[in-house]
Symmetry: C2
Subunit: 233 residues, 2 copies
């Protein structure tokens, strides 16, 4: 077993954040299932939403094993996405789906990145429950990719929408790290574990440096995700 | 192994119906999760919706093992609930939840009843996937029961709403048996298997007799369900 680090104290903050984000992703994907243009889309989205809630329950079980109940874990984050959702009102079903893919993608990336601030033992305990539940052949990503490949006008609209959603997602991530000392400390520990240095070659010190690194990592992952969908990032 | 009966030819019709009904129940419960008054309600409803979609996937796997794909199985029933949903517009979150409990309850009871028209071998293959996914301690039923026990005004409003929803559910069941020869034949076989006789002591013959028996069974189960919630049926 590896030695716990000070950041390990914040593991439950991370679990609560991840569980809350997944609960909201679940609702978003389930709404897309209900509004899907056909049965095939409805079934795929329902499957994906079902997987999201199953993984969310794994996270909550981790918390419960540490004595924390589901509502207590998530309640510090209650309402976190309200402003995000108000600022990203999808005007088509495809936009709504992309909001789910991008929002869920960024939030998953953020949680996995923060987990890198835990000790190796702490990270090993949490990372399996934070794994991405996208499956190559039956995912929302695949749905978007096929639709975008078949319709260049849709592809360019979705590219534009993706930029809007990722912008809002990154603002939210930044706000969250500023507001939660526990998550801020995990981010700092993650940056140090990743060997990030400031301009002078020293380990990152300021919150601004840490935040800049986090946003850079999230943006890079977002670009890869948009590439997989055949959309310009 | 028991001998297949003529009704066994209709097993895929039953699987398709049950899968479609669960897909819609999933959407209804997920919408209740998204609109829940607090995190505890949101989490419970998301869990229940997740279980519904998991059981729905079991049904689809049964169909796929018989060479039928998900969309082909469900598409004969596409739109089946549109009129029902338009006629049961919940005006409060609790009404919406009860619509889910009652609608899901009646549709599950109907599917299990129709499965009794299959040969014992056929029924054994299908019934596990048709099992009710309500768990005693963490179910929508429990949520309604606690709320109704604490608030007599809510309890009487929900009792009224339950009557409206069950009325619409029974109409829909009747329409379905009239419109689908396969399901009508399963219902007739189920009535015979249950030893139902007409007024003269002969096995039920007319569609009207069969339908009357089905509606009576569904009503009896509904009454028990309302009792479990502490609501007047």
């Amino acid at each position: 077993m590896s030695e716990p680090t000070p950041a390990d104290e914040h593991v439950l903050d991370l679990v609560g954040l991840a569980a809350y984000l997944r609960l909201r992703t679940f609702s978003l994907l389930a709404a897309q299932a209900a509004g899907a243009p056909d049965l095939d889309g409805a079934q795929r989205l329902a499957r994906i939403a079902g997987r999201v809630v199953r993984h969310q329950e794994d996270l909550l079980a981790l918390g419960e094993a540490r004595g924390a109940d589901a509502v207590a874990l998530m309640s510090p984050f209650d309402g976190l996405l309200d402003a995000f959702e108000q600022r990203t009102p999808a005007s088509t079903w495809w936009e709504g789906l992309l909001t789910g893919v991008v929002g869920h993608g960024v939030s998953g990336d953020l949680c996995r990145l923060l987990a890198r601030g835990l000790s190796p033992g702490g990270a090993d305990a949490v990372l399996p429950a934070l794994a991405d539940e996208e499956h190559e052949d039956d995912s929302a990503t695949t749905l978007v990719r096929s639709a975008a490949a078949a319709d260049p006008v849709l592809a360019s609209r979705l590219a534009l929408w993706g930029r809007r959603v990722v912008g809002e997602s990154l603002s939210l991530a930044q706000e969250l790290l500023g507001r939660s000392p526990a998550l801020g400390e995990l981010a700092r520990a993650a940056a140090r574990a990743a060997g990030v240095t400031d301009g002078a070659g020293a380990a990152v010190g300021s919150s601004a440096d840490v935040t800049a690194w986090v946003l850079g990592e999230l943006t890079a992952e977002h670009t890869r995700r948009m590439d997989r969908m055949g959309l310009a990032a």
